[in-house]
Assembly symmetry: C2
Homo-oligomer: 877 residues x 2
């Protein structure tokens, strides 16, 4: 049989897959000469063998365990089950990736009626011995024998009451003896079995229990959330017990080698005198800050400080260290990379570079790009009780508090009075834009991640929750009901657009702060990354923000949002409803100077950097009133005998709305299909671009316009429109450079990318639509109806609208890039879907050789770092 049991001194860090994270660390520390209690590790392979064989502990494994145990006895000079000098051990799980608290642990194993007496004699501390024994019974009873924890606690509570004490520490040896008897009775009663007295028997059961805990519910859920394979299995660490509860010269604690919240280079943690580790965790006694240890045990503190630095140097990372002091001797029980906040992660990484502990590249790999985004938005104070009343889709990150307002006009008025408001609507339309601008955040009961509210709010970097279907909004009564709860206009609520949580009342928020370390690590990222990072921005403010956060151009400037501004909607509607070519042209002439000014504002901000402008994309009916509302209005007018002129007008409007109505707007008359059927719209937009560019250049600015055609599926579409653009350029005498490219956002475009490349200067993969068409489901419909369950049931590993589906959509992107570059090696390629701001997708973009990613301004820092990490990973592979 393979070796499945390793003494600590036989292991090393590189054996993590076999020994688990904890086992590998214990081995590493042992070999580094640190004061680690001796022990051995049973491998993850043994766990998998066990689980695969129908939960059989094989004799061969047990032989190895017994032999390791003998060696441990020799090392410690103690005997397992020896009444004179009993060896007590801890039995802990330890998987490859940290799963804190998810699996089981048993301490003080080896105690029984006899050895507890030996321990009492040996330590001359009967109280300690019985306390240890009852702890062991309690844990073993719970974990191995399945007696619920609270039942043991109840016995302790009763005992305390009976002897009139408040704290457990006040219970005497006798008290514990009584408790032990009651524990044993409880177990016998509940399970019908006796508590095993043989230490070897105890160990067999404990190993078995730890193996089985790999598949308990909470461990499975944790793995699912953290994307950890179910097939790794857990190792089991068996280690000599040391005791922090042997008196006032003993203790236990947990400390971080640096501050996990701020990143300051200082010990941070807490400890308890005369206690075992679980006391710290259980929260029964309040631990003291670690600096108090310096006063109480200065020598130990100094030693710990030194070990902490040593561990940090050894692992080249901030450490989370568990320690125990037994009668004045310091033991290190565990060390691992410490969890930390975004700010701390950044500061530690930068500081460690400056302290010479790690290189810049290591620093870049240390920070999770997702954390960077947290640092850019106002957020909820994490140390705060929240009254969560509902949950919707996290449509735009950041947190906000304000008064509930149901109407855009009201929102504008109150905001003008300096009040903070949250706009609450069933859904928003272009006519609500001024309300969204005025509000701190937006909350809707309908619509998905791509609904109007979501898209507009993300563009503005404003908190937004969409599709919160629990809300029953009554616009007439100006109330919103959630379950039995009713909120009215003016009530305070808070929303967290990063989680989708709707919170009752006002909540203090933490403002974002761009620390010097934040800037420094991004500047290092810029030196390493190959991908350019651009931003999606539709107005000068967003463009400025994007530039401030390091964007190297605009990868997607959507022009429909310009059409949606409140003062323009009537003109846009006039254009759509035009009966004649002239009427339509008249409306377009009114829009032209407006569009020109939009573009000028953006060009000025992006002086010297490229700006990719996408011509009008959405179907025209998006700019008209809602069909259903219109039908209701008209029915009302008809029945109540309304004004006949008004009825006729509404009927006419309804006719147009109906004629533009689409069964599947996603798959309808939009994108370049609009430009081909109504070329005058695109002509106006292109003229506005060229005129704006000319005027900005006349001001001495450098403008690099890139005109992008949406939704191309056949090369002829692009060819025709490209011709039209070139005609406008020559008509308005635009003699500077410009490029014309296309979105690759429907499968046929990727499949025929070689043909399309003939007509394109650049490709921009629109992965939102490409995902929808490749999967054949629309985001709004899928997320509301089945996608959630798909992910829960593991039909899909991940939400493909969040992280690129590499097998399906990714194959098309790869095909698009390959076929495109085959025809035109200098073809510029990028991505401008929301995936452009998601780290795994960015790594994919790097791997398939795109030139740039484009994402919302607030995701630019994330993208810069993720791009750098992608470069480094590729290099290191």
């Amino acid at each position: 049989m393979k070796k499945q049991v390793f003494h600590f001194h036989e292991g090393k860090r590189e054996m993590k897959h076999l020994l688990g994270g904890k086992g590998a660390n214990l081995a590493e520390m042992t070999n580094a000469g640190l004061p680690v209690p001796p022990g051995f590790t049973i491998t993850t392979e043994a766990c998998n063998d066990f689980l695969e064989s129908g939960n059989q502990l094989k004799k061969e494994l047990l032989d190895q365990v017994w032999s390791a145990l003998e060696q441990l006895e020799q090392e410690t000079g103690k005997g397992f089950g020896d009444v004179e000098n009993p060896l007590l051990v801890s039995v802990r799980s330890g998987s490859v990736f940290s799963m804190p608290g998810m699996m089981d642990t048993i301490l003080n194993l080896g105690l029984n009626h006899e050895t507890v007496e030996g321990l009492a004699r040996l330590t001359q501390n009967p109280r300690f011995a019985y306390d240890s024994y009852r702890r062991f019974i309690q844990m073993f009873g719970d974990v191995v024998m399945g007696v619920e924890h609270y039942q043991f606690e109840r016995i302790i509570q009763r005992q305390k009451k009976r002897v009139h004490v408040t704290h457990e520490t006040e219970l005497t040896a006798n008290d514990w003896q009584e408790v032990i008897q009651q524990f044993l009775d409880l177990i016998q009663e509940e399970t019908g079995s006796d508590f095993p007295q043989s230490p070897h028997e105890q160990m067999k059961h404990a190993i078995q229990a730890v193996f089985l805990s790999w598949n308990n519910d909470r461990a499975k859920i944790y793995r699912q959330i953290h994307d950890i394979s179910d097939r790794l299995g857990t190792a089991v660490n068996i280690q000599m017990m040391v005791f922090g509860n042997m008196g006032e010269d003993s203790g236990t604690g947990v400390a971080f080698s640096r501050n996990p919240s701020t990143g300051e280079n200082e010990l941070y943690g807490e400890f308890l005198i005369n206690a075992q580790g679980e006391d710290v965790v259980a929260g029964i006694r309040t631990p003291q800050p670690i600096r108090i240890l310096e006063e109480k045990m200065p020598e130990i503190y100094r030693q710990f400080q030194q070990i902490s630095k040593q561990l940090e140097m050894h692992y080249q990372d901030m450490q989370d260290i568990e320690f125990t002091i037994e009668r004045g001797t310091l033991y290190i029980l565990q060390t691992r990379a410490g969890k930390r906040t975004a700010q701390s992660a950044v500061k530690i990484a930068v500081d460690m570079v400056e302290e010479g502990i790690i290189g810049k590249e290591d620093a870049l790999l240390r920070v999770d790009p997702n954390q960077l985004s947290q640092m850019l938005h106002r957020r909820l104070n994490p140390n705060q009780e929240l009254k969560i009343i509902a949950k919707g889709l996290p449509a735009s990150p950041g947190a906000a508090s304000g008064k509930i307002i149901f109407d855009a006009d009201d929102a504008e008025k109150l905001a003008a009075d300096g009040q903070r408001v949250i706009l609450v609507r069933p859904e928003t339309t272009p006519e609500d834009i001024h309300g969204i601008i005025a509000a701190q955040g937006v909350l809707t009961s309908r619509g998905g991640m791509t609904s109007h509210a979501a898209v507009v709010a993300r563009g503005m970097g404003k908190a937004c929750i969409c599709g919160c279907e629990q809300l029953k909004i009554d616009l007439r009564k100006k109330i919103v009901e959630v379950d039995s709860f009713t909120l009215k206009e003016g009530d305070m609520i808070s929303i967290d657009g990063s989680t989708g949580q709707v919170i009752f009342g006002k909540v203090p928020l933490i403002d974002p702060e761009l620390t010097p370390e934040f800037k420094k690590i991004l500047s290092w990222a810029d030196q390493v990354r190959k991908l350019q990072v651009r931003a999606n921005a539709d107005n000068p403010e967003d463009a400025a923000k994007a530039r401030e956060l390091g964007a190297e151009g605009i990868g997607l400037c959507r022009t429909e949002h310009m059409f949606m501004e409140a003062d323009r909607v009537p003109i846009v509607q006039q254009m759509i409803l035009a009966e004649t070519e002239e009427e339509r042209q008249e409306a377009l002439w009114k829009l032209l100077p407006m569009q020109k000014n939009d573009f000028k504002g953006i060009f000025r901000e992006m002086d010297g950097l490229p700006v990719t402008i996408r011509l009008l994309d959405p179907p025209l009916h998006e700019f008209l009133p809602n069909l259903e509302d219109l039908v209701v209005e008209l029915t009302e007018l008809r029945i109540t005998g309304g004004d006949s002129v008004e009825i006729a007008q509404k009927e006419n409007l309804l006719k147009k709305v109906r004629s533009l109505h689409e069964f599947n707007p996603m798959l309808g008359h939009r994108g370049c299909r609009l430009g081909l059927i109504y070329p005058e719209i695109y002509l106006m937009q292109v003229e506005a671009i060229f005129q704006a560019a000319k005027e900005c250049m006349a001001e001495g600015r450098k403008v690099i316009p890139e005109i992008m055609i949406p939704l191309v599926g056949h090369v002829n579409e692009l060819k025709e429109l490209r011709g039209l653009i070139d005609e406008v350029a020559s008509r308005v005498d635009f003699s500077h450079e410009y490029t014309v490219g296309t979105m690759i956002e429907i499968p046929r475009a990727a499949i025929t990318a070689d043909q399309i490349a003939e007509q394109a200067d650049f490709f921009s993969f629109g992965t939102n639509d490409l995902t929808q068409t490749t999967f054949g489901f629309s985001r709004d419909d899928a997320e509301g109806k089945f996608l959630h369950q798909y992910i829960e049931n593991k039909i899909l590993e991940e939400n493909p609208f969040i992280s690129i589906d590499q097998e399906g959509v990714g194959s098309l992107i790869k095909m698009g890039v390959e076929k495109g570059k085959q025809v035109k090696s200098k073809l510029k390629t990028g991505i401008c879907g929301e995936h452009g701001g998601e780290k795994k997708s960015i790594e994919f973009c790097h791997d398939v050789g795109l030139d740039y990613v484009s994402c919302s301004p607030f995701r630019v820092p994330l993208a810069r770092l993720a791009s750098a990490q992608a470069s480094l990973k590729k290099k290191n592979n």
Copy 2:
């Protein structure tokens, strides 16, 4: 310079690309020793040179023409421009593919003031000479000099009036001389130029005019319709004139070697004594049937009969022959394969095999599969004046006449009284099914080729026109307006579902007939084809029809139509609206026996053949009332103070309809996504299948059930549902063979076909949905809004919903087949979209190696023949 002029005896059939169809035929006939007037051909290359060089007739070309002309003079013993014995020629276009009447022709070229006198002398027939001259001036004036035809006609009319005659034949030589003078004046007046007197000048202009006519509007449109490349160019044929108008021993005619309407082996055509060919075409004089020629000129008739047979043998096909008799001598002017009706095509092909003229394989390639479909539906009599009042989408082929009825119940009643009705509705819903069954055909003003009406009608083989937006239907008043025209209930209309034409009044229809030849040619097709042909059928009647027409199984049995039957809709709605699991299960228990009986009916009909049953596909809201209607009803009820219980019920229903409402139903909660979220529906269906199969097998029938999962995009979907199906099989103790497969109808399925194949016994490409998702447009939206213009403007070559887009969608199919078979070499693959009944798509299916195509029952014969042709073409390549 290259040789660009060929004498007829220098050419042959194989030079068709260079000499055009007519030129090649003239050469072929000349070399076969037929009495063809001598002449030469200017090549299509010369035409292209001319067009590419900015319409320059190169000197080198003219040199070759003059030298050919000299040779022609020697051959005929006549002189071009020779007053004594003038050579007159015709100048005709002749492209590679026949484009009858699209380009220009000039006859009698070579005549001028002098040669006309010579001709008069030589023939001793001045009237004939001046008639010929005026004909020449008229044609040349029109074609070359651009004077409109009617202006010449007006002069002739005036002349006839002046001399008081009715027919042109009554005009004398003097009359024609006067007409000629007026013609020449007219030309001078209109163009400012004199009519050219030099025959060489005339010829230069004529050649130029023919070249230019390649690009006239009607020729361009013809090529567009018939899919002929613009780059082929036309040849020009210059041939000695022969004259059918030289007296009572002369004449001209056109005849087919067999009857082009019935296929009978008999001469079929017409002729005119003392006339030129254009007289036959122009319809001024009514020609006589060809058999009269036997009486009038028995010797000529016999000779023509023999030549006709000779030509048929030579070309091995039925010929369309133009001839002229000049003073008792027969000349053959042209021969080509004759156009023919479907019935004739089939009969001729079969007869020719039996006569030993061609082989079976030739016969199979002779018949256009599309024609076969015509033979299966009632159709309009083509020799009939139609009053077409509107045009919609040709949603289901065949023609029908009947009374206009606006309501399904009324339709059912009238039909029960033996009346024929056409159901006219804005659109149909499942609740109209009984009306569709009762009607002769369906006409809707909204909805596309995949609308409810279209799909149901196609399934029933019933005529249907959809989306006829010109119709303004007022259901309350029971009238329909078309432009200024109003039709009311009970008025007769006819519809042609093959063309989309709506016709006023009753029109006689031709009933379909399956001739013995039809059956014979299909039996030959079956011997040759590799593709299996199956049918899409959802009920026993369709299954029986499919089997009768030669289907080898059912490739797609849609189960949603079973849900849509009028008596089941309430139960289906009960299932959808169920608030509890039990309520839903109760409704499903009611549906189970119904579904079982559906399947039993189909299994019985298909005894021994495979039946692929697709589990429920459409989104559930399709079975509920329309949202908009419900909103109107509810608004009305509220305003008019309706019954509060009714309001509450409607509100509840509206809530459910709204909760199931989808932004993009095509991309919504349908297909296997339904089966995964509501497994109980699929469980019921699968149980019904297995129970039905068991019961039919107990009756001694052989049942081969193939269960098909729709809309799979990820292998896990199929894996999960396959597990469910296997569970049901074991639960109901179904121990016979069955297979489980999937539709490949979204891009991701094709891209990951290797993974999906692991779980599938067969793939069925659903090219309707695959086309929609690959192009990113829905058929209903595209066809109503932009697809038509796309095709007109040549952005797309063809409607991809009719013929598979081979570059885009086809690439995915290829990928799907390759990846699938790579993993599972015995994977069965087929197609069940509407493309399965379209000939080019069928050829594509053959080429990519599919195992079968499945199409609507009435398309099965087409598919059998098209599959055979695909095999033969592949073999011949």
